[in-house]
């Protein structure tokens, strides 16, 4: 079995929100626990998918494990080295080994620089290669991301969405990273182009031995590219396991509803009955950091909680369900699953 490249233990990232003059002056404000005690690991050359609704903390995890934001507590070990408290200077050589692909297509593409200059900059951040080396590396990069030479002379604004994404990926590959956090790499693209990018990312992984933390709310894509999937809800992982298991034998009620809502949208026959009347609809209200549920955070929206006749254990403040091991690598945080 390949070795562990990234290990995250009990990671927390709390943002404080200050509203109004009084809270600014006193330095007190509400605390938003964007990531609230998350542990997982990635093995070399493997892809772990991170899914959940927007606002559940997926992106914050991605940014924190790369130390783009500082964690509030917890431990991040990259390639056997604890990087949780490294200084900026100490992090710098490590940065080239771990890179991020951002959701925003334009992020990292300076609008006033041509593609050639953008790639050249990326190639010369950590090294001082000769012009000939730069030229050959640039050709290699273009080939890797399947982009035409003629695009080198273009400005980002002259590129289509798919091309921008390819340039973004080439820029990341330029420093030869080992770990890539891909934050919604396809969500801003058309389905047809999404497929190109997904294929490209998988090819690159195969040829370059990359490791991906793949953040997305597109469930079929996550299932396709990942070996393992972690499902997040309100800053915590509620279920984790092999991609096939999570997709086909989900145990947590939240994972189940995620997948069934996909099936709903997919189903071809138009059901005209008001399926799932008021109760279910209310179950899908928006979640809210401001009124954290006591006990299980999913209880207020949980269909299982309703079906079981609102058992007290689900809302007991002292017993937020821990991740239980179900065997076969599957863990789930639910009293009843």
């Amino acid at each position: 079995m390949s070795k562990t490249i990234l290990e995250v233990t009990d990671l927390r990232k709390h943002y404080s929100q200050r509203r109004g003059l009084a809270s600014v002056l006193t330095g007190q404000g509400r605390v938003i626990p964007a990531v609230d005690g998350v542990s997982f690991y990635l093995r070399e050359n493997e892809t772990v998918g991170l899914v959940g609704e927007s606002g559940c903390g997926k992106t914050t995890i991605g940014r924190t494990v790369l130390r783009l934001t500082d964690p509030s507590s917890g431990r991040i070990v990259f390639d056997g080295r604890d990087i949780t408290h490294l200084s900026r200077a100490e992090l710098r050589p490590l940065r080239r080994e771990m890179q991020m692909i951002f959701q925003d297509l334009d992020a990292g593409l300076n609008p006033k620089m041509r593609v050639r200059a953008i790639l050249r900059e990326a190639l010369t951040v950590y090294e001082r290669p000769s012009d000939a080396e730069i030229a050959s590396r640039m050709r290699e990069l273009l080939e890797q991301v399947n982009l035409k030479d003629s695009k080198l002379a273009n400005f980002p604004s002259e590129l289509s969405g798919g091309e921008k994404r390819r340039v973004g990926i080439a820029r990341v590959l330029a420093v030869r990273p080992r770990l890539i956090v891909a934050d919604e790499p396809t969500s801003a693209l058309d389905v047809s182009i999404q497929a190109q990018v997904v294929n490209l990312l998988r090819d690159l992984q195969k040829h370059l031995g990359l490791t991906y933390l793949f953040i997305s709310h597109d469930l079929p894509v996550v299932e396709l590219v990942s070996q393992k999937v972690a499902v997040m809800y309100l800053g915590r992982i509620v279920e984790m396991g092999l991609a096939e298991t999570i997709a086909h034998q989900p145990r947590h009620p939240y994972t189940r509803s995620l997948w069934s809502s996909l099936a709903d949208k997919r189903s071809t026959e138009v059901s005209l009955s008001a399926r799932g009347g008021g109760g279910e609809r209310r179950a899908w209200g928006v979640f809210d950091f401001e009124q954290p549920a006591s006990g299980c955070r999913f209880a207020p929206r949980c269909p299982l909680y309703q079906d079981k006749g609102r058992p007290a254990v689900c809302t007991d403040p002292a017993s937020e369900p821990p991740l239980r091991d179900l065997g076969n690598g599957q863990v789930v945080a639910c009293h009843f699953a």
């Binding site: 497929a195 294929n199 709310h217 809502s261 709903d264 399926r275």
Partner: protein, 365 residues
């Protein structure tokens, strides 16, 4: 099909690219029909002209030259006319071999005339919901106020308190919980899905004969998307409003549409009943539709972890429109027998089965 409620004929909407000194042929000869009570889904990649077609129908294209020719026939109970009637005289189009070479448009004259023509139609007969509901709502006004304003403007209910009751009724109809409390909410205090529901209430409260829904679920979370799709299906059954639904998400189109039009490069390349066009095994199918359907990860693809079938290349930019088929450059089904025609001559929209039309040389009429 019944007499259409909306008939768009040979619509052309162009824009001008100063950088390239050329026309962007966003909509290039589109004909579409929507029957009363029917949902027509328009699907295609971004840049294929879906949204511009819808905006043209609602008279919301503001950039010059904009709409330059065509007919938009609306036949509801209250309005029966060509919405572009009398506008020809503001435009002079120079054509060569059926291609537009130059456009002279008195834009101000057109706008003034078009505004008069659309008064009493937009919002009342044709209502629209957009992709980003939050940006379509006024951030400085509560959703209740905005709804009341719409009701008093577009319906016979003019009194403040009756309008408020009607507004609350509509908030309830779009399944917003505790509508009386939500009435006083500002858009920023509501989630994206909730804003889209409020937009829907605003669009439907005037009981329009046509609803244009432009990417109504894009940008929402997967779970919320399916709720909005469900709501649209329920409201369609309840109100019977004809809908022009635009989405690049085939699953949404599949779920809600009676008929489907597939657009590519500013033209309709395939149209027919949803069951004909999107059937898993179709007798005849445009290569572009086939490619769109294949690029969605199927259960089989995922199970075998095989590659997705991507459409190679990029969406046609409608500036340098090729002579032949617009999809020729990306098509993977060109055979030697048709190659010459594909490259040299744009195929016509030919009927391959009753109501099912294709624009492809592989399926000549």
């Amino acid at each position: 099909m019944d007499a259409p409620l909306l008939a768009i004929e040979d619509l052309r909407t162009y824009f001008y690219s100063r950088a390239k000194r050329a026309f962007i042929r966003s909509v290039d000869g589109v004909s579409l029909q929507v029957a009363p009570g029917e949902t027509l889904g328009i699907v295609g990649e971004s840049g294929s002209g879906k949204s511009v077609t819808a905006l043209s129908a609602a008279g919301l294209v503001s950039a010059a030259p904009g709409v330059i020719s065509g007919r938009i026939e609306l036949r509801s109970n209250r309005v029966r006319r060509n919405l572009l009637d009398g506008l020809e005289r503001y435009v002079r189009v120079e054509q060569q071999d059926g291609r537009v070479m130059a456009v002279e448009k008195d834009h101000r004259g057109w706008r003034r005339h078009a505004e008069t023509s659309m008064a009493g139609v937009r919002g009342k007969e044709i209502a629209m919901i957009f992709q980003s509901p939050r940006s379509a709502l006024n951030p400085y006004s509560t959703i209740g106020r905005q709804l009341v304003e719409t009701i008093r403007l577009h319906t016979s209910v003019k009194g403040e308190s009756e309008a408020k009751e009607l507004a609350i009724h509509w908030l309830e109809r779009v399944r917003i919980d505790s509508p009386r409390l939500r009435f006083d909410n500002f858009p920023f205090g509501m989630s994206g899905g909730m804003c889209q529901r409020a937009m829907l209430a605003m669009a439907l409260c005037a009981e329009p004969s046509l609803l244009i829904a432009d990417e109504p679920t894009t940008g929402l979370d997967a779970t919320i998307q399916s709720r909005i799709v469900e709501l649209l299906a329920e409201l369609k059954a309840e109100t019977g409003t004809a809908t022009l639904l635009i989405s690049h998400d085939i699953s949404v189109i599949q779920r809600l549409s009676d008929r489907v039009a597939v657009m590519y490069g500013g033209t309709v390349v395939e149209t027919g009943r949803a069951t004909q066009v999107l059937a898993p095994q179709a007798q005849a199918r445009h290569p572009y539709t086939a490619a769109l359907l294949a690029s969605i990860p199927s259960t089989e693809t995922i199970r075998r972890k095989s590659y997705l079938q991507a459409i190679e290349g990029e969406v046609l930019d409608t500036i340098d429109v090729p002579r032949g088929c617009r999809f020729y450059g990306r098509c993977n089904r060109v055979t030697e027998g048709v190659r010459e025609r594909c490259a040299g001559l744009e195929p016509p929209l030919a009927e391959v089965a009753p109501g099912h039309k294709l624009r492809c040389w592989l399926y000549p009429a």
